[in-house]
């Protein structure tokens, strides 16, 4: 590493270091994202705790109120999100085989499915408001709106990340030997998907 005179580093540049060792950089990114996902689990964890507390306290209210949610739309959205996760996996697989255009197509499909998800969510919210069901209506709908709302924000952030990966790929920055951004945003997307896998039965199905 340190052969010959060193380039003078400035405060605004990342020093030429072991950071540029691709293996270390990849391992670091992976550990970083997993650690970040741990914080995300705790972020949603507080809401799941509130859900548990209030469900035990008011089982009757949960039984009555959950019936007001639209199970069909919830199920549709579940399928949409799981399919989008599949697209992400296929996209990561594509770039590992060096196929940048294919990656862009798969990630584009993911973003499209995410948009479908949010649109369905929007129609659900609109219907609830129409029937006078707001976050302040009762604890069940407080939980419903806070949990799905926070999840919706994560979907939006995920769409941003995936778009960024597409931009990187269009600029030719990704290849079979360097696919870290695609893999990391993929991990994040699976997490967003996973949260929904819990939200759907807890809110829509069990009474």
């Amino acid at each position: 590493m340190a052969t010959g005179p060193r380039r003078r580093e400035t405060a605004m540049s990342v020093p030429a270091t072991e950071h540029h060792d691709p293996a270390v950089a990849f391992e670091s990114a992976k550990l970083g994202v997993w650690t970040f996902l741990a914080t995300e689990v705790l972020l949603f964890g507080a809401l799941f705790t509130a859900y548990t507390v209030f469900r035990m306290k008011y089982p009757e209210m949960f039984r009555v109120e959950h019936a007001k949610l639209d199970r069909v739309l919830g199920a549709v959205n579940t399928v949409v999100l799981i399919t989008s996760s599949l697209m992400v996996v296929l996209g990561v697989d594509a770039i590992k085989r060096g196929k940048a255009r294919l990656l862009e197509a798969y990630f584009g499909a993911t973003i499209l499915l995410a948009a479908v998800f949010l649109f369905v969510k929007y129609t659900e919210y609109a219907a609830k408001f129409h029937h006078g069901l707001y976050p302040r209506t009762n604890l069940f709908f407080s939980l419903y709106f806070m949990m799905t709302g926070l999840h919706g924000i994560h979907v939006l952030i995920g769409m941003g990340l995936l778009s960024y990966v597409i931009v990187l790929s269009r600029r030719g920055r990704l290849s079979a030997s360097y696919s870290t951004p695609a893999e990391m945003s993929g991990l994040y997307w699976h997490f967003v998907d996973l949260v929904w896998i819990y939200l759907f039965p807890l809110l829509y199905l069990i009474g």
């Binding site: 270091t17 705790l42 507080a46």
Partner: protein
């Protein structure tokens, strides 16, 4: 292992400080500059928070509210607490000194994610700007923001909640960065058990930051939702539960006292062996006690809520767990004492502060079990005894540890030496002032004076006047210290690379270090505490 690198050999001798202009700071990816920005910011808020403390002490000179209204007094103690906790104690050592010294002690050139590191500073800046913005309708809830009052108060709780959410985010990003850095960027030969104990402390701290902070983040979001959307999680009239807020709040805020104390303990573990010229006693015990504190600290939050109406069973379990978490803390104190035993001790300023840490922290630590035990807690809850205990651990502990680190690493960070005589005068003033201020609070607390009121019974006046005089001495000491630091920065004598003859890797870099830290990544062959054995 080549000899000590000389700063003269480094060109202009300004190292990482060579570049000038605000852009070189605002867009820097250098962990040392990010650390320095955190230090400046946090020290600023420490002084502002201190001014609020002095105003409180001024008001408490007389039993009646004389200078400010009750509301103003409530605002002042809220601002004092919130600023000291969220803008000083939590970020000062981890984000300030930690940022600066983690890569240097690891033998790395930077943290794992330099851009994320810079981003965390700017998220922090956005956070404190929002917090300052909330001053249009200042908070009067105390730093604990308990519902239902905080959900109804006319103060800008929503704004402040969002500010603290941002501060929390910055804290998470920093912790995440440090975890990955310590895992992945250790120099060749730097095994876990060859790491300086400061790094173990920082590693344990980072774990708490990453796991606990999101919970308080979402709690503040829910509090904001309570106020904006009328969500009723914490509102009994909607079937919610205010105690749930307390659980969420303390699930973060108890572990976070270890975010405050563990890095300071790490600094003490560095300073004590250097100025005793002895290997640290019980390295592994100290290292693992940090981890034990971090993990055990997650299981004791309920001891803040003994009078909130939890079940007797929960109270008993939390009380018992609280005694367990005192054990690893005591392990550290015994090991430091054993390190001092028959050492060649010298009393430079860093050592004075480190010894002060041990002394004051023992007082703070031993008064903890009085509060952790159910029976005595019911008597002492929300009295000045709590205030005294808290300040003995946080100011007597963390802040003294921070000062120790500041004096210990000042030559490395700035390339200048401090005036040792002035530093000792400042230390003496701080030590005396601190004890006069806070020891009297134990006494009034036991006698039953409640905290958080602008007025009190006349029978407590003598102690309160004594305490205020102590606060003035303490403030004078801190002013002298700041003046000394400032003078050192301006015209201190040039510092050699290793003024304390210390063995950890940061002292092998120049003073101040070059941007790239080391010309060649050092190869580590032994632990950092071989004092009094061979060359050191």
């Amino acid at each position: 292992m080549e000899g000590v690198e000389r700063p003269e050999a480094e060109g202009n001798g300004r190292g990482y400080l060579a570049e000038r202009g605000w852009r070189s700071w605002a867009f820097t990816l250098d962990h040392k500059r990010v650390g320095a920005m955190y230090l400046w910011t946090t020290i600023f808020f420490f002084l502002v928070g201190g001014v609020f403390a002095l105003l409180l002490r001024l008001e408490l000179l007389s039993p009646q509210a004389r200078y400010f209204s009750n509301h103003t007094y409530n605002v002042f103690f809220t601002l004092h607490g919130s600023m000291m906790i969220f803008l000083f104690i939590i970020p000062a050592i981890p984000s300030g000194l930690g940022n600066f010294f983690i890569p240097l002690q690891l033998g790395a050139r930077d943290v794992a994610f330099p851009r994320l590191n810079l981003a965390s500073y700017w998220v922090f800046a956005a956070g404190f700007l929002v917090v300052i913005g909330s001053l249009v309708a200042p908070m009067d809830t105390g730093w604990t923001f308990y519902t239902p009052y905080s959900a109804k108060s006319a103060a800008a709780v929503t704004t402040l909640s969002l500010g603290i959410f941002l501060l929390g985010m910055s804290s998470i990003l920093t912790g995440l960065n440090f975890i990955v850095t310590i895992h992945k960027l250790r120099a060749p030969g730097m095994t876990w058990y060859r790491m300086p104990l400061f790094l173990w402390g920082m590693y344990a701290t980072s774990i708490i930051q990453v796991i606990a902070t999101p919970v308080v983040g979402v709690t503040f979001l829910l509090l904001a939702a309570e106020r904006v959307f009328g969500v009723g999680f914490f509102d009994p009239s909607k079937g919610g539960d205010p105690v749930l807020f307390q659980h969420f709040f303390w699930f973060y805020s108890h572990p976070v006292v270890y975010v405050m104390i563990l890095p300071a303990m790490g600094i003490v573990s560095e300073v004590i062996p250097v100025f005793s010229r002895k290997p640290i006693f019980g390295y592994k015990a100290i290292a693992w006690s940090s981890m034990a504190i971090a993990l055990g600290g997650f299981l004791v939050w309920g001891h803040h809520m003994f009078t909130s109406g939890m079940s007797p069973l929960a109270n008993t379990i939390f009380s018992l767990m609280t005694f367990f978490v005192a054990v690893p803390t005591a392990v550290k104190v015994f090991n430091w004492t054993a390190t001092l035993y028959r050492g060649s001790i010298t009393f430079e300023a860093p050592m004075l502060y480190a010894l002060t840490f041990i002394f004051l922290f023992i007082v703070g630590g031993l008064t903890g079990p009085f509060l952790g035990a159910l029976a005595t807690n019911v008597q002492l809850h929300d009295t000045y005894f709590v205030v005294a205990h808290f300040h003995y651990t946080m100011m007597g502990g963390t802040v003294m540890g921070f000062f120790a680190g500041l004096h210990y690493w000042f030559p490395k960070m700035t390339g200048k030496m401090l005036n040792e005589k002035v530093a000792r005068v400042a230390w003496a003033l701080i030590f005396v002032g601190f004890n006069v201020t806070f020891f009297t609070m134990f006494i009034v607390g036991v006698r039953g004076m409640p905290r958080r009121y602008a007025e009190y019974l006349p029978k407590f006046q003598v102690e309160n006047v004594v305490s205020t005089i102590g606060a003035a001495v303490l403030a004078l000491g801190i002013l002298v210290m700041c003046w000394n630091l400032f003078q050192g920065l301006r015209k201190g004598a040039p510092a050699p690379a290793n003024p304390w003859r210390a063995l950890s890797l940061e002292w092998r870099a120049a003073s101040p270090p070059e941007t790239e830290n080391f010309h060649e990544i050092p190869v580590v062959t032994e632990g950092p505490y071989g004092y009094g054995t061979k060359k050191a």
